[in-house]
Amino acid sequence: MADLIVNGQAIPLDEDGFLEDTELWNEEVAKALALTEDVPELTEEHWKVINYLRDYFAKFGVAPMVRKLCKDTGCDLKTIYELFPSGPAKGACKIAGLLKPTGCV
């Protein structure tokens, strides 16, 4: 996929639009990624989810299961989809700069 341009810098994305190098993530990048996922603005609510995902990932090296995400953030699945129209995996994880969820499709 085309690179993501953040502050004039080109950040490479993979075909699915996930960061090629998750180390390059920062808040600005998140905002730019959000635009690719139909999230015009990252609200506090969004950040709660994003930060939760990043913390969890830093701690366990994996993305949380959806039930856990909902429980721990207090957002039910409906809210998650309202916040991130393509859902927790393609939407939230992408914006949070996590690794691309694999496997179960």
Binding site: D21, V62, T102, G103
Partner: protein, 352 residues
């Protein structure tokens, strides 16, 4: 914008009038000729279903052809079966033969009912999947060409259901088929550290291995495989692009037999491996088609009327199956996984 969560179209709008009228009122059926089911209703109505083989992987032109026929003969209705055959539904007996003639002209086979082989439930293979150990459609085409008579006639001891899955994910759900063709790898994954670093949740990858063959390699931010423990299931590849499992030289097909899912007579049963490996030999997989024909011929010659492949084998004993088919037995066929114990012959009674 799409309407979210509207669900599938309602089936009622898809049913031909004769079915709407006799919905739930069918009394019995007959098979007047191979490929034709005649269902008779309480009301006296008679429905003829003409079953037609499909390659499943089709173009929209094919679908449009079907529509043309359905419009011409069946008032614009048709259905597909659980095994991906097409069924034309006719209220009018006099249209059966003309429809069959039209189908034959198009090269479409009519059959698959009663004691015949039906279509092969199968998967994507090299056409569209990322982890196949063999192709799907090509193997199926080769096998069905070879067994064509058995589709068009009803001369087998019982129904014969073949399934194919191009890798152990088993999307063809072949594991309970009379005959299963399963794509198998035979070498451990080759690790691509870079891909793992970039895109893999290492804990998930480690957890994915059923035999515990994978352990983290923190230095390389990657993993290590204990090759002695690996049995090439490919589950790690599903979790990570860095576990390259495809190996053209050593990928191929295993053959399993004797499964069924119906509860009629005997309980549903798993297919059992009888040939651990046959090479991928495109375009016609001659080793596979021959192996299958051999099994079917021996079954057809020896089984009693109404005996599915597995029922026949369980009656005569697996040891006899190997003698009769001439298939060599090997240690590969002996289970060594979690539920192996139940397969060991804990009895002194067996046939030589």
């Amino acid at each position: 914008m799409a309407r979210l969560d509207q669900g599938p179209p309602h089936y009622e709008q898809m049913l031909p009038p004769i079915i709407k009228e006799n919905y739930g009122k069918w009394r019995y059926h007959e098979i007047p000729r191979p490929g034709v089911l005649k269902h008779v209703s309480e009301t006296g109505a008679e429905l003829y279903s003409i079953r037609v083989g499909s390659p499943r992987l089709v173009s929209i032109e094919f679908v449009r052809d079907l529509c043309d026929l359905a419009d011409k003969f069946c008032d614009g209705h048709l259905r597909f079966t659980a095994r991906h055959n097409v069924e034309f539904l006719l209220g009018d007996a006099s249209k059966v033969e003309p429809l069959i003639a039209a189908l034959t002209e198009k090269g479409l086979p009519v059959g698959g009912t009663g004691a015949s082989i039906s279509n092969v439930v199968h998967t994507q293979g090299w056409v569209h999947c990322h982890t196949p150990a063999t192709d799907a459609s090509g193997v199926v085409k080769s096998v069905m060409d070879d067994l064509h008579d058995y589709f068009e006639e009803m001369k087998l001891p019982a129904k014969l259901k073949i399934g194919l899955a191009c890798c152990l994910n088993m999307c063809g759900a072949a594991h309970c088929s009379d005959i299963a063709i399963v794509g198998v790898h035979r070498t451990p994954p080759r690790i691509n550290d870079e891909k793992i670093q970039k895109g893999t949740e290492i804990p998930s990858l480690v957890a994915s291995c059923p035999t515990g063959a994978i352990r983290p390699n923190p230095k390389a931010k990657s993993v290590i495989v204990n090759e002695d423990k690996c049995m090439y299931c490919g589950n790690c590849y599903t979790m990570s692009p860095g576990m390259e499992i495809m190996d053209p030289k050593n990928d191929g097909c295993a053959i399993l037999v004797g499964g069924k899912t119906s509860n009629a007579r005997t309980a549903p049963s798993f297919s059992r491996m009888v040939i651990p490996f046959l090479p991928n030999n495109p375009p016609r997989w001659p080793e596979v088609t021959e192996a299958i024909r051999n099994i079917i011929d021996v079954w057809a010659a020896n089984a009693r009327q109404g005996e599915r492949v597995g029922e026949w084998i369980e009656r005569i004993g697996w040891e006899r199956f190997f003698t009769l088919t001439g298939i060599p037995f090997s240690d590969k066929l002996i289970d060594d996984y979690i539920f192996s114990r139940e397969t060991f012959r804990t009895s002194a009674a067996f046939k030589f």
